[in-house]
Symmetry: C2
DNA sequence: CCAAATTTTTAGGTATGCCTAAAAATATAT
DNA sequence: ATATATTTTTAGGCATACCTAAAAATTTGG
């Protein structure tokens, strides 16, 4: 398994903190199937670096810095998931791949993906286009583009 | 830096082996800016697991198993790069992001990306569509879709 | 062909991220 | 209220992926 990043932990603390005030060692340990003792070490590190307020035997809460990072990370995560689902990737797989991708993508790539999703959602001809992608993914065949459509597209592309 | 995988090393050996018979410890060491001693350890591991033929003080060549993995990995790499460039990501950034993505993407996601690239390249209206994406990425504005085009698309989508 | 320079390996060290076992603190139940 | 159960921490261990220094093998130049 990939080494977990600070982002991973902060995001997890954020998710677990929903509705509760404090996240306990054990919450993280069982969420990740690791030993509570390891979480103690992680908490100590996150605390040193200013992402959480941590008190021995009590638990942890995100600092402002931690919450900011968590929210940013979650946003990336959601955008990537949405992107992959739009392309036709299965929801669950999109979710796990997004979880990996969010850590590695260059900000420019991230921006491109965000724009892509927006255009997909705004552009009127996208549904047609996506249908063709699905069709091709399923059958391996791409139906011929209606000639009148092709004509219009080339006309407008030249502008 | 992310932990390097067997795929990384095998792909690198493959690239360095181009035109030479044998890859030396030092080739890898300087390519990755790590110590030659570390490469010795890596070679020992790769050899144990059957990816390279390795002889002390001589160097390494890929086995059939190693070459197969290298080619497969390179193909993934190239497809992802192509995909990102199509979306509008800068060539260099596409390259480095692809290098990370190739290790983590689920095979289904990989397939989807491959199909996507194929459709992008085959579908006659794609250039029009991509123009709009570029336009939107640059200006933040999406020009209104010509009504006649919209009509045709919705007509054909319903089929 | 052999001495010097270069390359590669060996041996041992460091940092990290996890582990287990046991000690310490906290929570619960009668 | 205190004994018992639970949770958390401490202390020490293991594996891995890198490192450095020095030994060993190979290559090169006169």
């Amino acid at each position: 398994m990939r080494k977990k990043t600070i982002e991973d932990y902060v995001e997890l603390v954020y998710n677990l903190q929903k509705g509760k005030k404090i996240v306990h060692t054990n919450d993280i340990a069982s969420a990740l199937s690791i030993n509570p003792a390891s979480v103690t070490e992680i908490f100590q590190k996150l605390s040193e670096e200013g992402y959480i307020n941590y008190e021995k035997y009590i638990g942890a809460t995100l600092t402002k810095k931690g919450r900011t990072l968590a929210v940013k990370t979650k946003k990336k995560h959601n955008k990537i998931t949405e992107f992959l689902i739009l392309l036709g990737v299965d929801k669950e797989i999109a979710e796990t791949d997004a979880c990996e991708m969010e850590h590695i993508l260059h900000p420019d790539t991230m921006d491109t993906i965000i724009k892509f999703v927006e255009v997909i959602k705004k552009c009127e001809i996208t549904p047609f286009w996506l249908n063709r992608l699905k069709e091709y993914t399923k059958t391996g065949k791409l139906p011929k583009c209606p000639p009148e459509l092709y004509q219009i597209c080339t006309k407008y592309s030249k502008k």
